[in-house]
């Protein structure tokens, strides 16, 4: 302790002594400094020695690691450089789509893309000339410019047929190369076009290209169809290809016959909500999907799906909901007499019937004869809140949850202010615009015994058993009323022998874009159920602006337009659906049994 304290003092003491003696102190100071430096140097060196050792070890270990790593690498096998190993490979496989019986609706097809690598070309001018011979739509000068310029790679054609591929092979140009392509193929052409939507190419590489869905189911289930984890398991739809095809054929003929601008139809399993067939005309070929319209109303495009995206005021088909709700609430029963004296004046509005049905009708006859006044009076008994709640539970106030990318665009148009007059008009289908698919789902929910079903395009295993909408007896009564409409009411042309069709007609004036309604343009709808004794399927047929001209004057009402088309559709599809016609057996009384004995 004393030593360490004294040592720094000693030099100063020496200096002081020397100064006292009058000597030059500089030498002593320099000596002191040298000693201090030497001491510091030794200390620094001792420390540096350790640190240099650490550095040396670190370097030795780092070089050793690199050497080891080299050894590990050198002892493993090399792999061939392949582009497909790159981070995000293009998966060319897209799952098929099949109908409920496994028939193919969409599949893939091997084809080739043609590309050029100009640096490898031997005679670009000759190649360009030959290519223009094979593909007349190519521009010769442009090809020559591309082949002789700076470009190292260019696509010539995205898809070529086998014949064209052979022709290109025959040019013998090594700079023209083929890349395999998967092409989405819809073997049934326009059948179920709107449901399928369509597909096109996404990312493109030389060895593969991504097929991506652009609309409809293909788009909605794009991830699922492309997911390699499914191992190519096909997507099973609820659609039945034969029913779909029959429906489209009948609808197309009906549209021509009734001079309609468009048509839509839906057929749905009443218990499972499976859409067995859904069609919209005019349609298109998904193999060659047309471009969307760039101007005008998208509803005029063949891409427009009237059954799903088209929301219309569908008219009297809604009356059954009003009557069913009144029965459910105990306000009326099937035989309650309803005041139908017209016109019904409410503020500045007047509600009229198509014909004058006298002073009163039974509830059944309000439906059978389609009385607007009678329905409106029943709606007044129900009131706005309860009506709105009922329609909401049936799903009429939201877009349908169906599995198509266009689904949310079929958003219903509801009155901005749900007043009493709205209640009255909505009770017979005016003032609320919904799609035909909404209507089919609503009918199914009402008539299957009274539980909610939601429409689906995927094959289901059993009934949906949704929340209860109406009681079973109300559901039963509603079916009976609809059956009566066909037996003795506005839809008498809808009778199909053996299949007990029940349904309701609706003829709604089309709204003008400027406001108000057209006098001579209607949406004619027939919605119903069959067979009435044990309901299994609901259907909706909608014709846009039909005119039936076989009579003395043009007829536009649904009973003359949509109903016969629907009847023909049921006549042809019901046997295909596996329904057994209920045949009235003749009596056996006049049959004589003879015996040889």
């Amino acid at each position: 302790m004393i030593g360490t304290l004294r040592r720094p003092l000693r030099p100063l003491a020496r200096i002081l002594k020397a100064r006292d003696r009058g000597e030059n102190t500089e030498e002593i100071e320099r000596e002191n400094l040298r000693l201090r430096h030497e001491e510091m140097r030794d200390r620094a060196r001792a420390r540096a020695e350790g640190r240099l050792l650490i550095l040396g070890l670190a370097f030795f270990m780092a070089f050793g690691t690199i050497g080891l790593r080299m050894g590990v690498l050198a002892s493993t096998d090399a792999e061939e450089p392949r582009a497909s190993v790159s981070g995000n490979p293009i998966i060319g496989q897209r799952a098929d789509i099949v109908d409920r019986n496994g028939r193919i609706l969409a599949t893939n097809f091997e084809t080739h893309a043609l590309y050029a690598q100009p640096p490898q070309m031997i005679d670009p001018h000759y190649a360009a000339a030959q290519l223009v011979d094979i593909f007349p739509e190519l521009d010769h000068d442009r090809l020559v410019r591309d082949f002789t310029g700076e470009r190292r790679f260019l696509w010539v054609r995205r898809q070529i047929s086998p014949e064209q591929m052979q022709a290109v092979h025959d040019i013998g140009e090594p700079g023209l190369l083929f890349g395999p392509r998967e092409m989405r193929l819809y073997p049934n052409g326009p059948i179920a076009a709107h449901i399928m939507g369509g597909a096109s190419y996404g990312r493109e590489g030389v060895d593969a290209a991504e097929v991506i869905g652009v609309a409809g189911l293909e788009r909605h289930f794009d991830d699922l169809l492309r997911d390699p984890a499914n191992e190519g398991a096909p997507l099973e739809l609820s659609i039945d290809l034969t029913i779909q095809s029959t429906m489209e054929e009948v609808l197309n003929n009906g549209m021509t016959l009734m001079n309609a601008a468009g048509a839509a139809a839906v057929m749905m399993d009443i218990h499972t909500g499976e859409i067995v067939a859904m069609a919209s005309l005019p349609d298109f070929d998904p193999n060659n999907r047309p471009r969307p319209l760039t101007s005008g109303d998208q509803a005029d495009s063949p891409l427009f799906n009237r059954a799903l995206q088209g929301v219309y005021e569908l008219g009297s088909v809604f009356k059954i909901f009003t009557v069913a709700q009144a029965m459910e609430l105990g306000l009326v029963n099937a035989n309650t007499m309803i005041d139908t004296e017209g016109p019904l004046e409410w503020g500045r509005f007047r509600i009229r019937d198509f014909h004058d049905y006298g002073d009163e009708l039974s509830t059944t006859d309000v439906i059978v004869r389609s009385s607007n006044i009678g329905t409106a009076r029943i709606a007044l008994m129900i009131g706005e809140a309860r009506q709105r709640d009922f329609l909401e539970r049936l799903g009429f106030l939201e877009a349908t949850p169906v599995e198509m990318v266009e689904g949310p665009t079929g958003q219903p148009i509801t009155p901005r202010n749900w007043s009493e007059i709205s209640t009255m008009t909505i009770s017979y289908g005016h003032g609320l615009s919904v799609s035909p698919l909404h209507l089919a789902a609503g009918y199914a929910s009402l008539l299957n015994g009274g539980t909610l079903v939601e429409p689906t395009l995927l094959r289901q295993d059993g009934p949906q058993n949704g929340p209860r909408i109406v009681s079973e007896s109300v559901s039963r009564r509603s079916v009976e009323m609809l059956r009566a409409v066909v037996e003795r009411g506005t839809a008498s042309l809808g009778e199909v022998a053996g299949y007990e069709v029940g349904g309701k007609t609706g003829t709604a004036d089309k709204p003008r874009p400027q406001g108000g309604y057209y006098d001579d343009r209607v949406i004619a709808t027939f919605a119903g159920v069959f067979p009435a004794s044990e309901p299994q399927y609901v259907f909706v047929v909608t014709l846009d602006e039909p005119i039936e001209t076989s009579g003395d004057e043009p007829r536009r009402t649904a009973g003359w337009t949509a109903v016969p088309v629907a009847a023909e559709m049921i006549r042809r599809t019901a046997p295909l659906l596996g329904l057994r016609p209920s045949v009235e057996l003749g009596t056996l009384s006049n049959v004589t049994v003879t015996s040889s004995e």
Binding site: D42, F59, F63, M70, A78, P81
Partner: protein
């Protein structure tokens, strides 16, 4: 008396230069460097003909140039290694000033050779990269500052050298040349470490780096992707790295044979950044291990010799030079075996490149000059520090 003086051989002051040089030089390091140079020429024969073919030149154009530059570099190295540390320091400071001015003037007079970074002066027959010459100069100047800072009443040398390093880094990142910038910073850090950086400061700095890395990883998607890509086991075989890795595997232990390698045809940087891949493919693991051993011997031996050094300046300068040299080789080879993320850096003395070779010759010459054995008061050490 007279005859005793007259007619005798005049006594020289000190020893003759060459014998003393030979006696004091680190012969191991010297031979390693010469061997590296030879390997560089050999690999140049393998790796550069495809490049020459691509550029439409004589197949051995680059080999000839490499030989000329290599010869010059070795000559320079010999001359420098014969100088005394004081002379080396004086010349290095002058060289540093010149190359610093050259670096500063790059944005005005430099050229980028169409590579996007302005790093070179074009002299017609060759190009010069000032940052290569700046590096050894900077190391010597920084070591001088630090050593001076250790004197009683000396300038704050560590601060000055840090400021100098940061200015140089700023200039280099402007070009941009992050590789050289990080080398300069690394050299400064190593010298600071050996000069006696406080332990607490180093711990704080290390934890700060780790913490910053984590923050960057979790906050920057770009950074995270780079790290993930580096950490992921498989590598895209169509990238330069993929080809390099494959070449090493292809070569195995004894190589595919002289001139049989394929990687040099697909890698544009086969003669510079990925020359180790060419070596691995044609001559196999054996050659690569020899190269690694050569670098390791040079670095570790130099550091061991510097442990005995009493003079602080010599110790620091030598450490900086040896570590910069070793780290550059390490990064180059570490990238090729995917131990480190991709970064273009040449393999000293082996890669093709005039500036890099000659600057490397100067640096190694300085290192040899600093590691020459000098009287270090070993006896005093042995006798227990009495000589003070």
């Amino acid at each position: 008396m007279t005859e005793m003086v007259y007619g005798t051989v005049p006594v020289r002051t000190g020893d003759p230069v060459l014998p003393r040089w030979w006696r004091t030089i680190d012969k191991w390091s010297l031979s390693c460097i010469l061997m590296l140079c030879g390997i560089g020429l050999l690999l140049g024969l393998a790796s550069s003909p495809p490049l020459a073919a691509r550029n439409g030149l004589d197949p051995f154009y680059y080999v000839t140039r490499q030989a000329v530059f290599g010869g010059t570099a070795i000559t320079v190295m010999f001359i420098v290694s014969m100088m005394s540390p004081t002379l080396v320091r004086r010349l290095a400071v002058l060289g540093f000033i010149c190359s610093f001015i050259a670096l500063a003037l790059l944005p005005i007079l430099g050229t980028d050779f169409g590579k996007g970074a302005v790093r070179w002066y074009s002299l017609g027959f060759a190009s010069v990269q000032p940052s290569e010459f700046l590096k050894p100069g900077f190391i010597v100047v920084a070591a001088w500052f630090m050593a001076a800072g250790h004197q009683v009443g000396g300038p704050p040398g560590k601060t000055y050298s840090l400021i100098l390093a940061l200015i140089i880094v700023a200039f280099l990142t402007q070009q941009p040349d992050f590789g050289q910038a990080s080398l300069v910073l690394f050299a400064w850090g190593v010298m600071y470490f050996v000069a006696g950086a406080p332990m607490t400061l180093m711990i704080v700095a290390a934890s700060f780096v780790v913490f910053g890395g984590f923050v960057a990883y979790y906050n920057s998607e770009h950074f995270a992707r780079r790290i993930d890509g580096y950490l992921s086991a498989d590598v895209d075989p169509t990238t330069q790295l993929g080809y390099a890795t494959n070449a090493i595997r292809e070569g195995g232990f004894f190589g595919v044979g002289v001139g049989e390698g394929q990687v040099k045809w697909s890698l544009p940087d086969a003669h510079t950044d990925f020359i180790i891949a060419v070596a691995a493919e044609e001559y196999g693991l054996v050659c690569v291990l020899v190269i690694i051993a050569l670098y390791a011997v040079i670095v570790v031996r130099s550091l061991m010799r510097l442990m005995k050094e009493r003079d602080m300046f010599i110790r620091l300068a030598g450490t900086g030079l040896a570590c910069a040299f070793g780290v550059q080789a390490m990064i180059n080879m570490g990238v090729a075996v995917r131990l480190l993320p991709a970064k273009g850096m040449t393999l000293p003395f082996v890669s093709y490149g005039g500036s890099s070779l000659i600057a490397g010759g100067i640096a190694v010459g300085m290192l040899l000059a600093f590691t020459r054995s000098r009287p270090q008061g070993e006896m005093a050490d042995v006798l227990g520090r009495i000589g003070r």
